[in-house]
């Protein structure tokens, strides 16, 4: 078959030149769907990053008795599985932070004594460890009270898994849609040429001989469409992200250089694959003897 590839390639080009409408239709379809797929993937990645960044803010705080032994508590905290790091926050630091946060609503002069306790902020390796770490920390002598923001943690966990599930489902459906619509479109272009296929069979062309130019044409159309789409996605993403980072400082945004080196080849491969597969399946439908 290698010997024929030059011939097939010329066939494909001639065919595109003589009936451009069909190629334009396939290419546009691949292009538009790849655009949707690309932008949606970028959106998903960002939501995922957002969910992840929110998760990182969840931590266990262990408040200490006034007479607790800091060092011993720290050692015991470190020994709990799932604990990454325990950071000491003195009552003075805590008060300073509180006053800062309350911006004038508390008058420090009014306080004869710091009402806040010392504490350890404990970072854990995963959200799943939260509850266990909190329970074990509670049992340590010198720890008066443990807080891990069950509610926020729950919310974050749920939000995270929601984003992930919905994202994967939508991405999967979008992918299926792309396959379906592209192969539909290609099936129509093949349908428009069914007489041709019939004639080729009549004069004795083997099935693979008929099939290859169609497959190559599908791959080519898929490639052209997805390369243009990937370029658009990549270009607009690297253009918009820096601007977005300046305005929306409160949301974590995935950098272009972290996303595109994966996304662009994936989109292009996808286009070529869907184009080729769509052609193959369609031609087979009309190859009956």
């Amino acid at each position: 078959m290698m010997g024929y590839s030059g011939y097939f390639f010329r066939e494909v080009l001639t065919n595109i030149r003589r009936s451009p409408l069909m190629s334009v239709a396939s290419v546009t379809t691949v292009l538009v769907l790849t655009l949707i797929l690309g932008y949606f993937t970028a959106l998903m990645m960002n939501l995922e990053a957002l969910a992840h960044s929110l998760l990182r803010e969840v931590q266990v705080v262990a408040y200490l008795d006034d007479d607790a032994n800091r060092v011993s508590v720290a050692q015991q905290l470190d020994r709990i599985p799932g604990v990454e790091e325990a950071h000491f926050v003195s009552k003075e630091t805590a008060l300073k932070k509180l006053v800062e946060r309350m911006q004038g609503r508390i008058k420090v002069d009014d306080l004869t004594r710091n009402p806040l306790p010392d504490s350890y902020e404990v970072a854990v390796d995963s959200a799943d460890s939260l509850e266990l770490v909190a329970k074990r920390a509670q049992r340590i002598a010198g720890v008066s009270y443990v807080k891990y923001g069950e509610e926020i943690a729950q919310r974050m966990l749920r939000f995270n898994s929601l984003v992930r599930t919905v994202g994967v489902v939508i991405l999967g459906l979008l992918f299926l849609s792309t396959v379906l619509i592209v192969s539909n479109t290609i099936r129509l272009t093949v349908f428009a040429r069914r007489k041709e296929i019939e004639i080729m069979q009549m004069v004795g062309a083997a099935e693979w001989f008929i099939r290859w130019p169609f497959i190559m044409e599908g791959v080519l159309q898929g490639l052209v469409g997805s390369v243009v789409a990937a370029t658009l996605v990549g270009g607009s993403y690297s253009l918009v992200v820096p601007k977005l980072m300046q305005t929306i400082t409160f949301l974590p945004i995935v950098q272009a250089e972290d996303l595109l080196p994966m996304l662009i080849p994936a989109l292009i491969f996808n286009g070529a694959f869907v184009g080729g597969l769509g052609s193959l399946l369609s031609v087979n439908k009309f190859l009956k003897v």
Binding site: M1, G3, Y7, T14, N15, R18, S19, K195, E196, E198, I199, M200, Q201, M202, V203, G204, A205, A206, E207, W208, F209, R211, W212, L280, V289
Partner: protein
Amino acid sequence: MFGLFNRPELELDTSGNVPMVDICELDLVYENGHQALHQVNLQIQKGEFVFLVGTTGSGKSSLLKLLYRELRPSSGNVLVGGLDLGDLARNEVPYLRRSVGVIFQDFRLLGNKTAAENVAYALEITGTAKRKIPSRVAQVLELVGLSDKAKRLPSQLSGGEQQRVAIARSLVNQPSLLLADEPTGNLDPDSTWDIMQILSRVQNAGTTVVVATHNQQVVDLMRKRVLVMKRGHLVHDLARGAYRLDGRGSGLHVDQPSTPFSAVEL
């Protein structure tokens, strides 16, 4: 992998030890229940030239379609060059068709290929060396008198010119069996005669030729074997015969309109 490359080799027996065409108790029933062929028995030897005649709808095209496996027999056997076409696997059909040249009643040219490309396609599928193709195509187009229109698309050719492209395509592979379905229906008498001479020459080179035609003059002048079909039956098999349709004798009837016009207001 999807059977993309399989390439069974398949050869017709052209030694002359078996008949080129051997049809035995053949019935053909179309999907809608119409029986187009009834109990046809027929042998055609290697190198014969046979005319197939009969009224419209008598089953000529159907019979030819069975010989290149566009149709399968409903019952009975069709053997071409010793191969039983009923047994032919799907991926073997293309190889049969390369040994059987066909001139179709409706031409069946590829609309997006030029005349030359249409002819070349029949060579390309057989794996003919690329450098041999152009000269061979030019030769055959010259033979049918279309050299000056090689670069035209079928839509840019007259009916008769398209027919000649179809003839050229059927000849280019030097088939063992040549089937022609009304090959001169769109040709003037001179061109018709030219084409018949070509077919004769092809026969002399050893090819078996079967021509379905309504052209009485051609059949009468050529004096070849004539098979007469009538409503799906093979009713006559005449060596060196003339054109005759059963019952009404031959030719045109000036004075006997056969359809009652009075029923229709025109």
